[in-house]
Structures are given as structure tokens and as C-alpha cells.
Symmetry: C2
Subunit: 454 residues, 2 copies
């Protein structure tokens, strides 16, 4: 056993304690009342980096602060940029949490807390991987830059701007991102494709006040009716988005690629049982895995209007709205989607109401070449820690910032997630397996060594 691995073993308990400390900070980026907690979380990350002798800055932005750090220079070694985020999703519905979201709790080998897997727990593995090298060897075998943001869950606006303005400072040979899942328990993965996203909100307003649905109904356009009609029109009976041109830029997979995907150890029936639904649904002509990874889709994420309380209220609401997203695949362009959506809303808006469109997030999908030496280095590091070679997969979610790394830094991105599908990222009872936490740290420490050889 290497000295590094020994160090990790003997410090495992402390690492878990530090993770709990990090998770106790309620850093919900979407919540305007949490600005102080956001600053605390950024400071916590910066303190960790400074203690490991990295040159560290907390960078104020118009939104939540960035944390940037650089390790002492290692001549002739490549440079990796490690990205993560210290912000977390909102916690509602709060009543569905077994234990409070910001009181990390151990159960059955897992740690339950908002942000456990997304992304505090995963981010921390890379900090601890560095710590092991600095404490045991006194130096890293590779040049590392850390870039940690607090706006991943709300669109990464500050980070996008920082990268655009500081591409030279961030120059690197590859980017390391752990903000996703393994393929299955015991089956680690390197994710070579991500879907993009285009997330919107519509506000439909009609009469100048809530009206009695009896006295007025039939003669006035009902904003809640309109919301339903607009959303329903965006997808057809075969699960296909109806926006004109939506599929124009979608790259189809080759038969060979679809065969490889079909060969992955994925049991559709088990998948549906796990999330409690019966049977396959979605775009006609594709498997469940394809619908999640290589096909774009449309989901309503939020819906509101009128009376939501107990009993019956006969109201024709003055306003209603919805949040929804399109998941995009390479090469769909979010800007083109926005344009098409805006045109359709104009065309579909019935007389008597107004539709306001707000765009929240937009980022295209991304593909990583599987033949890069950095991917091979990551595969070796993962095999060292997890005991088996990773599979190469895609992921249905988006990390829009990964696209930016591709475009602005021209660097390969290693998407090596330590989470599990059932970790409840974005849901109540989010968790992270403590075994995966420690394997992630071990893989990270090994990754610095393997990248150093590239």
C-alpha cells in the first residue's frame, strides 16, 4: 500500500468531519436571503486550499464569490484545472426530508444533507487528494489550478464572465470535474457526453384582478388555461418537441455507438422500479438510456396559478406561470432554441393575455474525445481506487460550464463523478455514499500522479 493511500486511510474520520462542516453551511444560491452563507461557504473552501499551500483568492463578483487557487509550480508537468461548486439546490419540499437538509446525518453508510453529492462531497475529494500529496510528499506531481464557483445551480453567470476575461490565467491541459454519478453501484464511469439545457420561465397575465369564474368565465382569456395550452403545445404525442427546427442540428449516433450503449449493464425494469414508475415512456423509437443521454426533451419544472389551497375556489386567475427546460444534445444551440421559442410564443399567445419570457440558463451539450491521454490517465486512477476499469458513458444532465471550458480553454474535460443515480441530487434526502467519498479521494490522489506522467 502506498504512503499516500495509508495517509488517506488514517485520516478518513477527519475527512468525514470536514465534509459535515462544509455541508452545514446552507449555501442555496437561488435564495437571495443566503448571501452571507454563500460567502461563508466560499471562505471555507479558500481556507482549505490555503492550508495546503496553494496561492488562494476569494474573488468577489456581482453574484456569489469565486474561489481560485494555484499550486506551487512543478516544471515540465502538465496543468490540470479542477472545477467544482460550493452552492446547492433549494431544499423544498422541506417536509419530505427525513432529517434536516443542513444537519448532515449518517445512515446506512451514507451521509444525508443538501449538497452531499451535488457537489460539496465530490469537490472535497479533490481537496483531500491534494492534501495527501502535500502532507506525505511535500509537493504535487502535477500543476493544479482550482476554480470553485457559487452559482452552478443558477446559471454560472459570474464564472462565465471570469473565464471569458481570464482565459490566460486559467490555461491548462485538461479540466477535472467531479459533479456527477458513477454508472451504477460498483461501476465507475467516465462521462464522455453531457446534454445541454435551455431553461425558461413564462408569466402569463390577463385581467387586472382575479375574477369570479362564473360571472366572467367564457368571455375572458384565462391565464391558467393559456399556460396549460402553451406547455401542451411544446411537445407532441410521440414525445417530440414541436419547436420548428428543434431537431435540425441534432447529430444522430451511428449504429455502432447505439450498440455500445445497449451493451452497458443497464436494466430498464430495475430503473423504472427504482423511481417508482411502470414501464417505458418517452420519444418513440428510443431506449430509456437513449432518451436520457442522446435525445433532447422537454420538461415542466414548475407550475403555478390561481387557488392552490384546500377546497374549491371559483376563481379565474389574473396570472399564471411555469418554469420549464429543454434538454439539448450536441450540436443544438440554446440561442436558436430561444429564438424559436420566442417566435412560437408570439404565434400561440391568445388575445387577452400577455406572455413574458424569462431565460434562466442556456448551454449546449458537450462531447469529450475518448482517445485523449488524460482520459486514459483518469481511467487508471479510477481503476486503482474502485478496483475496476470505468465504463464510458453519457449523462442526461448539464454542466453548462463544461462547454465553456471546451470553447474558451480548448481543454479536454474529465467528467469523473463519484455519485450514484439514487443520491437524490435536487430532491429531498440528498445523500452521498461515504465509501464513494473515500474512493473518490483515493482516485483523486492517484489522478494527480497519472496526470503528472502525461
Amino acid at each position: 500500500m502506498s504512503k499516500i493511500d495509508q495517509y488517506l486511510d488514517s485520516n478518513a474520520v477527519r475527512f468525514e468531519g470536514e465534509l459535515c462542516e462544509f455541508l452545514e453551511i446552507p449555501s442555496v444560491s437561488a435564495d437571495a436571503d443566503r448571501r452571507d452563507d454563500m460567502r461563508r461557504a466560499a471562505q471555507w473552501v479558500a481556507d482549505q486550499l490555503r492550508r495546503m499551500q496553494l496561492t488562494t483568492e476569494v474573488i468577489p463578483t456581482e453574484g456569489h464569490p469565486l474561489v481560485y487557487a494555484e499550486s506551487p509550480t512543478v516544471p515540465d508537468a502538465p496543468t490540470a484545472l479542477v472545477y467544482g461548486h460550493y452552492d446547492v439546490q433549494p431544499t423544498d419540499p422541506l417536509e419530505k426530508w427525513t432529517t434536516p437538509p443542513f444537519e448532515p446525518t449518517r445512515r446506512d453508510g451514507n451521509l444525508y444533507a443538501r449538497g452531499a453529492t451535488d457537489d460539496k462531497g465530490q469537490l472535497l475529494t479533490h481537496l483531500k487528494g491534494v492534501e495527501a500529496w502535500m502532507d506525505v510528499v511535500g509537493r504535487l506531481p502535477v500543476n493544479l489550478k482550482f476554480l470553485v464557483e457559487g452559482e452552478e445551480e443558477i446559471g454560472s453567470r459570474a464564472l462565465e464572465q471570469y473565464i471569458a476575461e481570464h482565459a490566460d490565467r486559467l490555461a491548462c491541459d485538461c479540466v477535472v470535474v467531479s459533479d456527477g454519478n458513477q454508472f451504477a453501484p460498483g461501476v465507475p464511469a467516465i462521462t464522455c457526453g453531457l446534454r445541454g439545457i435551455a431553461y425558461y420561465e413564462i408569466h402569463v397575465t390577463g385581467p387586472n384582478r382575479d375574477l369570479h369564474s362564473g360571472s366572467f368565465g367564457g368571455s375572458v382569456t384565462n391565464p391558467a388555461n393559456t399556460v396549460a395550452q402553451i406547455l401542451a403545445k411544446l411537445i407532441d404525442n410521440e414525445g417530440r418537441v414541436t419547436l420548428p427546427g428543434f431537431y435540425e442540428d441534432v447529430v444522430s449516433l451511428t449504429d455502432r455507438q447505439r450498440e455500445q450503449m445497449a451493451a452497458l449493464p443497464f436494466d430498464e425494469q430495475e430503473y423504472f422500479e427504482q423511481i417508482g414508475v411502470t414501464g417505458a415512456v418517452g420519444e418513440v423509437g428510443y431506449t430509456a438510456l437513449e432518451r436520457r443521454w442522446i435525445r433532447p426533451t422537454f420538461d415542466v419544472c414548475g407550475l403555478w396559478g390561481g387557488y392552490q389551497g384546500e377546497g374549491a375556489k371559483t376563481v379565474l386567475p389574473a396570472a399564471a406561470g411555469a418554469k420549464f427546460s429543454f434538454r439539448l444534445v450536441p450540436n443544438q444551440d440554446p440561442a436558436k432554441i430561444t429564438e424559436a421559442l420566442r417566435r412560437q410564443l408570439d404565434a400561440w399567445c391568445p388575445p387577452g393575455v400577455k406572455i413574458e419570457l424569462v431565460q434562466h440558463q442556456g448551454g449546449p451539450g458537450v462531447l469529450v474525445p475518448q482517445d485523449s491521454p488524460y482520459i486514459e490517465a483518469a481511467a487508471r486512477a479510477i481503476e486503482h481506487a474502485f478496483g475496476r476499469r470505468p465504463v464510458f458513458t453519457r449523462e442526461g444532465g448539464s454542466i453548462p460550464i463544461v462547454t465553456t471550458f471546451h470553447q474558451q480553454l480548448k481543454a479536454d474535460t474529465l467528467l469523473i463523478g463519484w455519485g450514484q443515480e439514487d443520491d437524490n441530487a435536487h430532491s429531498p434526502n440528498e445523500k452521498f455514499s461515504l465509501a464513494d467519498f473515500h474512493r473518490g479521494i483515493k482516485a483523486s490522489a492517484k489522478l494527480w500522479e497519472e496526470l503528472g506522467k502525461c
Copy 2:
């Protein structure tokens, strides 16, 4: 000036004080936490009736109590049953009220409070009409029965049952109901038709927890998508409800009847300006008045699901729902509508979700014959108080209980509303004109006299 009218004049200030007292009781029937306030409101009505020497009972029910009273017998005079309700609509959105809903406030000749026009203010006019006769003359010129409920806004379940079981006790020659509007300011009306209602709630449930819309989206039926699709399918592009057989029993008006309706002093443009919308919308081929009075329609009253907070949350919600109503016209049968709806929901329910249907209210529309002597008596009483003969109109809203009176008591119903269209019934800033309140009392006192002559 008659002695009765003099009495009303000299007690006007006290009447307003008593109305304020009544309005201060937050008797929201839909709110399970208001049971004590409901009892207080019932007791308040009963105390009023007892003070006027009516034999009065507060009748407990499984829901909110009923108040029943009978005046001392007047031989050879007809009997009128006066109906009203002491319950009020919920107050949300509370932040839109200029003054608190249960702190009655005078502004510009109006009294603002939840229940001011619907129905506490209007109900009180009939109590004060009785009081005048008892105090000035010592007896009434007609036999009166009062039946006042606390569940009008939530379906009148207890009242329906009480009427079914006590038709003999409630036997009468006509029913008097003031729970609606005049045709326009200065244009009193007798409403000879009401639309019916069928009000439902659907709960759509899918996966066993909220899911990340990226990781899962496309492969799982989204309950919020489903809600939108179901609601959108219920009405077509021409404003017609799509349920099979929905229009089968609708009685079309004769050309003559449509001409009479078109002759009413109704300015569509002014109507739309008042509610802040531009231009006419609704079922193709009908005027705004016809769409409100003689045509059935479909309105979403409430809509919910997923994330409604600030910013973007990429969630595929585990559940979503909606409240909605069909407004019915004579002779549509709510039971047939429920059956058709249930069949369509079964047919439309996509795989992977369940749809639960809850029915809240159901009652057919009603028509009152214009040639009844009681209608003529009401017309004379209204002319006495308002200074002009009433027009004969319809109303888009429902008083399902009026249908029950027709069916169970075989009595004509006099629908004589003292409210105004812009009184904000069911909306924030509900009000009642104090001038209409006093004219209503004057008309009521005269009505007892006119009915006594029938």
C-alpha cells in the same frame, strides 16, 4: 314617505355598524382552522333573527351549522323562504388587499371587506327589512322562513341534505335570494337564469420522488407535463369543451331571446376595459354576454406542481395538480359531465402516471319563469327602492342551491342581487356599495308587503 321607510332612514347608521360587526368574523368555510369563527357567524345571524321574534334554531351539521327561523304565522298570506349564506371565500392573495379583509373599511361610499357583497351585506338587507316591519308595525305582512348556510362557497353539502330531509318544514310559495349583482350601477335586475357548475380537482402522480430533470428527463412521464396536456385537451381552439356529449343537452336560445339580450345596456368595450383586457375572446359565434350567460365554458381555477420559488430549479416533479370548473347551462347534467370527464381522463392518462379525480361541486343551471306573480311583486319592490323597474337578466355564476329549491320545494326563486359587477366577489378588495345596502333594505321591506298581496 311611509313609516317603514322613515324607520330605515333613521336607523341607517346602526345598520352599517351591524354589518361591520358581521364582516369582522373571518368565516372562511374552506379553511379547516376557522370552525370556531364559522360557529360565531352562525350565532350572530341567529341572534339577529331571535331579536326580531322569529323562532330560531342553530342546526349543527357534519360541516358548518345552518341557521333556520320562522316568523309568527300570518293567516292567508303566502310564505317566502329567504336564503343566504354567512360563509365567505378565502382571502388569498392577501398582499393584494388595500385594507385587511376582516377589518371593514369605508372608502368612496363603499364598505371593503371579504364577504361585503358575497353574501353578508346582501343577506343582512333582508334581516333589516324584517326588523323594520316588526319594530314599526309589530308584525310581518307575509309568512317568512329564513334558511342561512355556512357552506355556500364549498358546495352546500349540509344544506342539500337538510333540504332533502325537511322539504315539508321548508314548504313555501317562493324563495328569495340576494346573492348576486345588479345589471349595472343604477340598473337593478331580476336574474331569471343561472349557470350550473361542475368543479373538479386532479392530482397527477408519477415517480416516487422529485427527480433531476437532466438525469431522468425524457425517460419518465412528467406529472406537470401531464397536467398541462390534460387541461389543454379539455378545450379546443374555438373555445369549445371537447368532452364527448358535452353540448348534447344544451338548449339553444331563440332568435327573439338573443335579440332581447342584445338590447340590454351592455357595452362590451367598457366591460373589457373594466377588467383590463383587450378585446373579445371565447367561444366562436357568440357575444361576450352570451358567453357569460347562456354558453357553457371551462376554466382552470388553480394550478400547481414542482418548483415555484425564485430562480431555476431543474426538477422533474413527482406530482402536480389543478383545480378547474365547467360552467353549465340548462339542461346540462353535472353527473353526466363527471362521467364523461372520468372516461376522458382514463383515455388520456399517459403510461407512468396516475390521475386522481376529486369532485368538489356540481349543480345544474336554472331558469325562472318571468310571468310568475312573485317576480312581478319583486319588480314592484325594486322599483320602489331603486327608482326604476328592473331588467330581466341571467348570471354566469352558479347558486347550485337554487336548483335544489326548484327541484325539492317546487318553488319559484326570486334572484334579486344588490351587488355590482366590480364588487370583487372572490377577489382581493371585495366591497359593497353602502347606497346599495340601504336600497336593498328598502326593497326588502317593500317586498314583504308586495308578496303579502300575492
